[in-house]
């Protein structure tokens, strides 16, 4: 019987670049910056790295396939380097791979690095890509906001909520993230925005307006992991440890079987349930969350899927300020995907970077008072066909 990885892996160093439209930086710059910050934070020599995983979701538009871009950029000398890809869960997937390698005892020090260079496409938003040659014969080429906007109508239909209440709650989600992002020097969008502006923004995909959509950004984030024992040997008495990392992927149930009503994400529910069990905590033990707010409605639904709001009540919890920085369960203290930005392959590790920083008391103006456990959540794909990743970080003692 598997016992999980709780406290079997310590994060001893993390790095994260500024996210944004980084016209003057290429993938190599981003990779090196994130890694060097993590390496300095860990306080180890680069030669100690035994293995590395790079997460990159849209290799075809910039970075190129395989792990070689990472090996070349960091000049990693003949060690195992691999690339992982799982849509928007890619960053967490890289962390999962590195963590499992350490937990398995295969290596002492492993690197997980997520990187994405999106802003060389010539337009806003994510590029339209093939869904596979056979799928292209029938699947709609919906945009990312289009696929997530589907949640809204299904949610109001299920819970009998009004479209106006939903719209206001979605606007509050974005308002809150802009408030937080304004405090974050590395965030892509650092400007507070008022509710009226958000509510009256141009429509992107009904009912998602411009401010309901996250930024499309360039950026990279990196983690260096080892065992708690080695961490202690390096002088880190109470390291940040991985309490859980869980993943759940669609197998066609949502989009092809007749049960799902389109108002929630079962993969988030499943991954969260297993993550809480692996960490030995419940949702109410969390101190903060960094969730996949690719669109405001996604964050709203995720609050229920993670068990933080009762079913059908997320609208009211959000409007009551429960997830604001000074609320009972702060969410997106760094601005989230919405304002920190969303370089797809880096986002999972960026979330871990914020939780790591909060656990170590390094979050500056954004620092929360008491942080015991932080949760990160990624949602790749679309509600009807997704990959959800949930991780929980805390301190060893």
């Amino acid at each position: 019987m598997a016992s999980g990885i709780k406290d079997r892996v310590a994060i001893i160093g993390m790095g994260c670049t500024v996210f944004g439209e980084l016209w003057n930086k290429g993938p190599e710059d981003l990779i090196v910056e994130a890694f060097e910050e993590a390496l300095a934070d860990a306080g180890i020599a680069r030669g100690h790295i035994n293995a590395a995983w790079v997460g990159n979701a849209l290799d075809d538009i910039n970075i190129g396939n395989s792990a070689l871009p990472l090996a070349h950029a960091l000049r990693l000398k003949a060690i195992p380097v691999s690339r992982v890809e799982n849509m928007c869960a890619t960053g967490t997937e890289a962390l999962r791979a590195a963590t499992y390698a350490v937990a398995a005892g295969a290596v002492d020090f492993a690197v997980a690095l997520g990187v994405e260079k999106l802003k060389d496409t010539g337009y806003g938003g994510l590029p339209l890509r093939t869904k596979g040659l056979a799928n292209d014969l029938w699947m709609p080429y919906g945009s990312a906001p289009g696929t997530f906007a589907q949640l809204a109508g299904a949610y109001t239909a299920r819970h009998g909520a009004s479209s106006e209440d939903l719209k206001r709650a979605m606007a509050h989600v974005s308002w809150k993230s802009h408030q937080n992002g304004a405090l974050n020097a590395k965030a892509h969008l650092r400007k507070a925005v008022d509710m009226e502006t958000i509510l009256n923004a141009p429509m992107i995909a009904n009912p998602l307006g411009l401010f309901d959509c996250c930024g499309v950004s360039d950026g990279a984030a990196c983690a260096i992991v080892t065992t708690p024992e080695i961490a202690k040997g390096l002088g880190i008495a109470n390291p940040v440890t991985v309490k859980a990392i869980q993943l759940s992927a669609s197998h066609g149930w949502e989009a092809s079987y007749h049960e799902w009503d389109g108002s929630s994400i079962r993969n988030t529910q499943e991954a969260a349930k297993r993550a809480y069990a692996e960490a030995g905590i419940s949702a109410h033990d969390l101190s903060m969350t960094e969730v996949h707010d690719c669109f405001s409605v996604t964050e709203l639904v995720t609050m229920e899927d993670l068990g933080l709001s009762a079913e059908g009540s997320a609208i009211f919890d959000i409007l009551d300020g429960r997830y604001d920085h000074d609320g009972a369960m702060p969410c997106q203290t760094d601005g989230g995907l919405k304002c920190f930005g969303h370089p797809v392959g880096a986002s999972g590790l960026r979330m871990a970077y914020e939780v790591y920083s909060q656990l170590l008391g390094r979050a500056g103006d954004r620092q929360l008072a008491n942080v015991d456990f932080g949760l990160t959540h990624n949602l790749g794909g679309q509600p009807a066909n997704s990959v959800a990743a949930v991780s929980i970080l805390g301190r060893l003692n």
Binding site: W138, P140, P145, G146, W253, S256, A384
Partner: protein, 479 residues
């Protein structure tokens, strides 16, 4: 032939018109500065970006084949999208008819569907003649508003309710407009020449010969479906032939436009809808000559009422620029997002294409229906590969589970509607929507499936077809 011979007849008909109807006065207004254009009364049916001759013929055929499964399929059009790809074969697959049916494409002139109909009536076997037109025309040409887009169909059987009692044909290399592969849009010739000689030398002689063949007089004709080479010619044709019956082909031109090869069978459907048992109907198709057929209504002909209803089920629009874009007259710069590579691999199409154009899903061993088929069913308790039985979804009622109007994604006619569709038989499909009316779509809406263009690879001139969800009911046009 005479009235006592020719037992074969038309058993069913179908007529399809696109949702959008251009208010012709909008075109006149847009062209006012130039003095160009044409008639400004009535409406001009305008195909959606995802419609073409094949899809509209298929929709008309669905109406006509609801009670008869033909063993011969003929596709007729002068605007077929492909040069080397049999449209009748695609139509067969779209209708999920047996692959051993005989298929043929006919073209060459706008009379071709009538010629094929006559061949079917003189031949054997239950035969579908399906026609569709979406003819390219340049802005400013009078044809741009006079012509329309649409589809029509007829099924011929041994005991069809509209029996052929006489006919006549005349072949003549008569050039009233120039259109070729080199120059596909029509180049009009002197109207006075056409008005005078087409009636005198082509149409009237053929009609008179058919009347004689049937042993009836012009006064015996209760309803006519006589295609005019140009708008307004019916008066002269009537005068030359003595036929005073209502001409449904003229009415169709005013309400929808000249539908080219699809016009005669659509007009015939309207005539059949108006006819009483015992009535005699005259159908005449023009183009490189003339075919005239005379029918006697001896029984029921399915589908005629639906064709008439299609005349007034639509959405009027007056956006001339949108019309120009939809008809391909102007090529808007849609930006980088429209550059998405949509190349279709023939090998993939060979493996999956029939299930796509036929909308064929699968039913697993426990009865659950899904799309597309898979080796291991999507059913949660499936525990390994299972055989699947083909299940066609095209005619299964469905409702929307989720929906959005996507304004980011590229589509030639924004917004891009799509969402999750739940079929009554348990299948569900994430798919594109089409034919949005003024109210758009919302969760719970009832939808019907329409065959449409899925991808259009302009670089290689290729297109694929799939089904899209459309409102189950169309709006009724206000008079």
């Amino acid at each position: 032939m005479g009235q006592d011979t020719g037992k074969r007849g038309i058993a069913s008909v179908g007529g399809y018109l696109p949702l959008l109807r251009l208010d012709r006065s909008a075109a006149s207004k847009g062209l006012q500065f130039s003095g160009l254009g044409g008639r400004n009364a009535g409406y001009r049916t305008t195909a959606g970006w995802d419609e073409d001759a094949l899809t509209m013929a298929a929709e008309a055929s669905r109406h006509a084949t609801s009670t008869v499964a033909p063993t011969r399929i003929c596709f007729a059009s002068t605007s077929s999208p492909f040069i080397e790809r049999g449209h009748a074969s695609m139509l067969l697959e779209a209708l999920a008819l047996p692959a051993n049916a005989r298929t043929i494409d006919v073209s060459g002139n706008r009379r071709c569907a009538v010629s094929a109909l006559l061949d079917a009536l003189l031949g054997q076997g239950d035969t579908l003649i399906a026609s569709g037109e979406k003819r390219p025309v340049r802005a400013g040409s009078a044809f741009h508003t006079a012509w329309g887009d649409g589809g029509s169909a007829a099924v011929v059987t041994d005991d069809g309710g509209a029996a052929l009692i006489g006919y006549a044909s005349l072949a003549r290399d008569y050039v009233d407009l120039y259109s070729s592969r080199e120059h596909p849009t029509p180049y009009a010739y002197e109207e006075r020449f056409v008005k005078e000689t087409a009636t005198r030398d082509v149409i009237a002689p053929t009609i008179k010969a058919a009347l004689a063949d049937a042993g009836v007089t012009s006064a015996d004709i209760a309803h006519a479906a006589i295609c005019e080479p140009l708008p307004g010619m019916w008066r002269d044709i009537s005068k030359a032939t003595g036929i005073t019956a209502p001409n449904h082909a003229s009415d169709l031109s005013a309400a929808a436009g000249d539908l080219g090869a699809a016009h005669p069978l659509f007009a015939l459907a309207l005539a059949l809808d108006a006819a009483q048992p015992g009535d005699i109907i005259l159908l005449a198709g023009f183009g490189s000559g003339c075919d005239t057929l005379i029918f006697k209504v001896i029984g029921a002909v399915a589908g005629a009422a639906k064709a008439r209803a299609a005349l007034t089920q639509g959405l009027i629009f007056a956006d001339y620029l949108r019309f120009l874009s939809l008809t391909g007259t102007i090529d808007l710069d849609w930006g980088i997002r429209s550059e998405f590579e949509q190349k279709t691999q023939a090998t993939v199409l060979e493996r999956y294409g029939r299930d796509m154009i036929g909308f064929i899903g699968g039913r697993d061993t426990r009865g659950n229906v899904q799309f597309p088929k898979s080796r291991i069913p999507v059913r949660p308790d499936a525990d390994g590969p299972e055989p699947m039985e083909d299940m066609r979804l095209a005619d299964v009622p469905a409702k929307l589970v989720s929906v959005t109007a996507d304004r980011l994604n590229f589509t030639p006619d924004p917004p891009f509607w799509f969402g999750l569709v739940q079929f009554e038989n348990g299948a569900r499909v994430m798919m594109e929507f089409t034919d949005a009316d003024a109210d758009g779509f919302k969760v719970g809406d009832s939808v019907a499936m329409r065959l449409r263009i899925k991808s259009h690879d302009k670089r290689r001139g290729f297109r694929t077809y799939f089904w899209k969800a459309a409102p189950a009911l169309r709006p009724i046009m206000e008079a």
